[in-house]
């Protein structure tokens, strides 16, 4: 009993836990069958934890911090980010920081997922340009080297070999121009797609976190402490009984000494000292 009361009092007297919950909306462009980017995963990611730890100068390790962050969501785009802490202000600060950093990372990752393709396209642009310029220069150089070749071809008096060479150069220049134009068209489409995706991956804080005492957890802790104390107390009692070599009953005295017990004097309690009733 003493163990139970002590541990319960100790638990009740220990600092209470606080919970702070921030509510967020995180829009996802996926059709629901396959999520491109899960906001819940981002909230409890190491990247967010590292940023929050640095931002708030927390002493906790990343693992400890992540262990105190919980994220819950239903079928809608609403997410609840809950942080537990012994200090109410810190719980709220962490919850709000996690929400903001997770939102930023979500948008960053969501829009940044097509950027490698744009980078690749940019690399090809120079190649297409060079090919087209080279083809155009080759055609111009040919025409300068053979003045009047264009008129001669039109009149049908040109040397067939020269006419064939120029025709090839014209085809090369046209092919290079077409390739460059098609590239630009594709690149524009990709940029437009990236911009629209950036708008689709959107996350913002709906409700800032305010810390509240976590009474459920406190009660649970008291219950756990009480249960633990009961187990410990019971263990102590069993151990004491096991180790107790004291004489408790007349029969034990008789076994111990080999002499009969001829009188057992009760403890002088109030009941024993009251006048006995005649039966």
């Amino acid at each position: 009993m003493v163990a139970v009361l002590s541990m319960t009092a100790w638990t009740a007297g220990s600092p209470p836990d606080y919970k702070a919950t921030a509510t967020m909306v995180a829009k996802n462009p996926s059709n629901g069958l396959e999520k491109a980017l899960n906001f819940g995963d981002i909230v409890v990611s190491n990247s967010v934890a590292v940023r929050v730890k640095k931002q708030l100068a927390l002493e906790d390790s990343i693992e400890q911090l992540l262990g105190r962050i919980q994220v819950a969501s239903g079928r809608s785009n609403l997410y609840s980010i809950t942080v537990e802490d012994t200090q109410p202000q810190r719980a709220a600060a962490i919850a709000n920081a996690v929400a903001r950093e997770a939102a930023a990372l979500y948008v960053e990752l969501g829009s940044g997922s097509r950027s490698p393709m744009l980078t690749e396209l940019d690399k090809y642009r120079a190649g297409y340009q060079q090919q087209h310029v080279a083809a155009a220069r080759a055609l111009t150089a040919f025409d300068n080297a053979h003045p009047g070749i264009v008129k001669a071809i039109d009149a049908g008096t040109a040397d067939p070999d020269l006419a064939a060479q120029r025709s090839q150069l014209v085809l090369n220049e046209k092919a290079a121009a077409d390739a460059y134009l098609k590239y630009e068209e594709r690149a524009s489409q990709t940029r437009v797609g990236a911009l629209s995706s950036q708008r689709d991956f959107e996350a913002f804080l709906v409700d800032e976190a305010v810390a509240k005492p976590d009474r459920t957890r406190s009660m649970l802790r008291i219950a756990y402490a009480g249960g633990l104390a009961l187990v410990i107390g019971y263990g102590i009692v069993l151990l004491r009984q096991y180790r107790d070599r004291s004489v408790r009953a007349p029969a034990e005295v008789e076994r111990m000494l080999g002499v009969p017990v001829i009188a057992t004097i009760p403890r002088a309690t109030g009941k024993m000292l009251r006048v006995s009733q005649a039966t």
């Binding site: 070599r245 004291s246 004489v247 408790r248 009953a249 007349p250 005295v253 008789e254 111990m256 000494l257 080999g258 002499v259 009969p260 017990v261 001829i262 009188a263 057992t264 004097i265 009760p266 403890r267 002088a268 009941k271 024993m272 000292l273 009251r274 006048v275 006995s276």
Partner: protein, 222 residues
């Protein structure tokens, strides 16, 4: 150690007193007509209830009309006179005061300095007389082992129906072992919760070697 509880007048009808009455009957019934007169009450350690047993057993025996003499042979820590006076039925301090005025007791009787009549003190309890330890308490073991001790105890038989002798704890002093051969019987007191089983066995073996008649064990505080 619990505080000794003496059977004052208002407690004589309690179940606590009944336990001592049962003990008196058992002691009286031992060997029928040859019931022991001089009974040594001993225990292994201090605080087992030895002196309380002497006092309460004497009180319930006195209630039956018997002449009871309580002998305080605990020369190391004599306490019977305190117990009987402070817890007397009418609240008087008679035994204590009378003892203090006389300051004579068993040691004086053994040395032949005083007679039993000169040393015995009347207690507030009917039929109960007390022979205090006395004043000359040097080398008590020698006094107890003397031939005179046996003679004195035998002389008590004609003076009382029941003589109950309190003694020091056996684990601390051998006085009880010295006294035992001069007595008709021995009551051994064990307090419930006692831890030292080996010490109890050792004391028991010592007492039995004196060939004293073991009347039985009083299990105290059950």
């Amino acid at each position: 150690m619990t505080k000794p509880l003496i059977l004052s007048h208002e407690r004589l009808e309690s179940r606590f007193a009944d336990a001592y009455r049962s003990l008196r009957v058992t002691v009286a019934a031992t060997n029928g007509r040859h019931a022991p007169v001089t009974v040594l009450v001993a225990s292994a350690g201090a605080g087992e209830g030895r002196t309380t047993t002497v006092a309460n057993l004497g009180i319930v025996a006195g209630q039956t009309g018997s002449r009871v003499l309580l002998v305080d042979a605990d020369f190391r820590r004599p306490s019977l006179h305190h117990l009987l006076s402070t817890e007397s039925s009418n609240g008087s301090k008679r035994a204590d005061e009378e003892f203090d005025s006389k300051r004579l007791g068993l040691t004086e009787v053994i040395r032949g300095i005083a007679s039993l009549e000169e040393t015995v003190v009347k207690t507030p309890f009917p039929g109960v007389w007390l022979l205090p330890a006395g004043t000359d308490l040097e080398r008590p073991s020698d006094i107890l082992a003397s031939r005179r001790m046996g003679e004195v105890l035998r002389s008590f038989r004609g003076q009382a129906d029941l003589v109950l002798i309190d003694s020091p704890p056996c684990l601390e002093h051998v006085d009880a072992v010295e006294l035992a051969p001069h007595c008709d019987g021995l009551l051994y007191v064990v307090r419930a919760g006692d831890h030292d089983r080996s010490a109890q066995r050792q004391v028991q073996a010592q007492l039995l070697q004196t060939n004293v008649r073991m009347l039985g064990v009083v299990f105290n505080g059950a």
